[in-house]
């Protein structure tokens, strides 16, 4: 069994669940960069926020547009869905060991309008495609302040 502890924080009076993941895109001039993701099963995809795209040094304008679901409405703003191909994600298990998950592509949010200051509040999200591809189950038990990902070996 592989178990990845998640972080629970109260930021608006309720528990939210986050994961620290290091992102290593291949094919762009970038290096592995740790990012905090909000675990969001309301999102079909893992998506990198504009703020974190800057941190990752992703050349967002050079990324291809998604063929399907080109536009995302997120936190009241519209974004183009760009695709970052062949990306490694590194997570730490409960023993602190690093686990690598490779995704064929992950979504990157490109604002459709001039970037407003509101984008600084928009987090990167860990969506359903990550769970499907990695085969992790999500356990979120806020009343016991516990959250983790797990899968059978």
């Amino acid at each position: 069994m592989t178990k990845i502890p998640l972080k629970l924080y109260k930021t608006s009076g309720q528990w939210m669940i986050y994961s620290y993941i290091t992102v290593m895109p291949h094919g762009v001039h970038a290096r592995p960069v740790p990012i905090k993701f909000l675990v969001d099963t309301g999102s079909p995809w893992i998506a990198i926020s504009p703020k974190d795209a800057i941190k990752l040094n992703i050349p967002i304008l050079r990324l291809p547009k998604a063929a399907e679901h080109k536009t995302i409405v997120f936190a009241g703003d519209k974004f183009e869905r760009r695709l970052l191909s062949n990306t490694d994600l590194y997570l730490r298990d409960e023993k602190g060991e690093v686990i690598k998950i490779n995704l064929d592509s992950i979504s990157v949010l490109k604002p459709t309008k001039r970037i407003s200051e509101k984008i600084k509040h928009i987090p990167s999200v860990l969506g359903c495609d990550f769970l499907t591809t990695s085969k992790f189950r999500l356990c979120f038990d806020p009343s016991n302040e516990e959250g983790f990902l797990e899968k059978d070996e």
Binding site: Y18, Y20, R31, P34, K36, K51, G96
Partner: protein
């Protein structure tokens, strides 16, 4: 491009998680002081607080730091919560 070892990734993640946990443990305190701001944390210390993200990135770079190595987070305006 320089190859990065798993050990380096692990150390970088440990540092980032420490800073992230430090920030989140103090979120309520920071919410009172820094509503609407964006904050940079390194080694469990605030190294920059600005209103605009661009200004924070400039501040980080002016210290000779790479934003990739810094924990950056934001505090919503008072009374505002985000539902995604």
């Amino acid at each position: 491009m320089k190859q990065v070892s798993t050990t380096e990734i692990k150390l970088s993640m440990e540092r980032f998680e420490k800073d992230g946990d430090w920030f989140c443990d103090r979120f309520n305190e920071f919410q009172k002081k820094y509503a609407g701001k964006v904050i940079a944390v390194k080694n469990q210390k605030i190294i920059g607080v600005t209103t605009k993200l661009d200004d924070l990135l400039k501040k980080i770079r002016s210290r000779g730091e790479d934003p990739a190595d810094v924990y950056i987070d934001s505090i919503p305006e008072k009374g505002v919560a985000y539902i995604l």
